[in-house]
Subunit: 247 residues, 2 copies
């Protein structure tokens, strides 16, 4: 099922610099997005200056499709959202990036073709472009400094997109863990440690002994020590138990 | 309350290019982060080439503090996570960016000073740096293309940080906890422990020493030890360092 998910198309409207198209392609690839469309790129297309900044996302650059107008670029899509840096006074639903990718994800599962629109670097999207879309995406950022470059805005959306694919992965522990020490390994370690501490005199004040032992055990219980780590700690304590090599 | 939240310190370890320090500062500012530390930046500091790429985040650049070693850069912090591009075979808790910023946010509310470590552009953090931190942050991205530049990694963390500020109302009430040990308390404990282990001969096989030291440090980093617990452990080690009472 997940392998049949067709990710959102990324549409860059009037991008000014080939370099920014390249870094946007790289950000798309980071988040598992593959399909790029360009509306009237200022330096024409293909643009060799996009290649190096794409850092290897060549397929996205090579397969990018060019259109004259935003309208043509989105005509085969069903559901399109536009990113905006500032809040617009426009009666359209507005989403956070996370809300937007979740809505897109749900739509894709119903065979809806979806896209995300990004405006030119300095000016952002024009109201005519915004009138073509179903909703707006507002990236919540420091209100004193919302300036994001194109690739950064694409990266945030691509990152959030990838998290929707990964939801189940996020529920599981990320990595298989080495085997934990059994309680008997742990208790043998405590026995060894405490008998050494009796020997050194650390636990000599008898009425304090129970609480000190408990404090020390609590420290090591909190750790969820692995079997190997208990062996290491036993080696450490064992080394203290032997007469010093040199003093 | 929220206005007193002191955001995480961003620590860039051995950044290679001033330009990347500038773009990282910009990404920090986007997410409302203000405090930057640099460990041994390759081109020295101050570095005028950082200014223009910061796109106006001058205060962050001007206030950045420089350190010789990672250890010094984090010594006054209590809880530090490190970002890693690949999964490490290391028994440390591993978080998504969202899980990490939520944990940091909760810690800050209890007056814990926190930081996030980022490695050099090409090579990432070394295992010795990772042995100093409490947990790892793995940014889930397209497994075929996880290459993120420094500023992009900082942006993802800064963006997620800003989202935690926005959901203040949803947050759980906090349980009061005893104060965590600062990194300098912890590192002093490591120094004491390792010098004792040198003395007992436990670390005598020189080519194994670095990995053994790292394994031992990792055990205790996982704990988020309190200040009082570090004192207890220092007492334990101190008792081993004295001649035995009876043998």
């Amino acid at each position: 099922m997940a392998s049949e998910i067709k990710p959102p198309v990324i549409i860059l409207v009037k991008p000014q610099l080939g370099e920014n198209i390249g870094t946007a392609a790289r950000a798309m690839y980071n988040g598992g997005l593959a399909s790029m469309r360009l509306v009237a790129p200022r330096s024409g297309w293909p643009d060799p200056s996009a290649l190096k900044p794409s850092a290897g996302a060549y397929d996205i650059i090579m397969d990018a499709k060019v259109f004259e107008t935003t309208r043509e670029a989105i005509s085969d899509l069903h559901l399109v959202y536009a990113t905006t840096a500032r809040m617009r006074d426009m009666n359209k639903p507005t989403f956070t990036p996370k809300q937007a990718v979740e809505a897109l994800h749900d739509a894709i599962a119903k065979d809806v073709r979806v896209g995300i629109l990004f405006g030119p670097e300095r000016t952002g999207l024009e109201n005519d472009d915004l009138s073509l879309v179903n909703g707006l995406i507002h990236i919540p950022l420091n209100p004193d400094f919302t300036s994001l470059n194109l690739a950064q805005a694409v990266l945030i959306m691509a990152y959030e997109w990838f998290q929707t694919l990964n939801i189940e992965g996020n529920r599981k522990p990320l990595r298989s863990q080495p085997p934990l020490a059994s309680k008997s390994e742990l208790l043998d370690f405590f026995d060894q440690l405490e008998s050494e501490l009796d020997r050194t005199g650390f636990l000599r004040v008898l009425h304090k002994r129970p609480v000190m032992v408990r404090n020390i055990r609590n420290i090591f219980q909190r750790l969820s020590l692995t079997s190997q780590e208990v062996k290491t700690l036993r080696g450490v304590i064992g080394s203290f138990a032997r007469p010093y090599l040199k003093d």
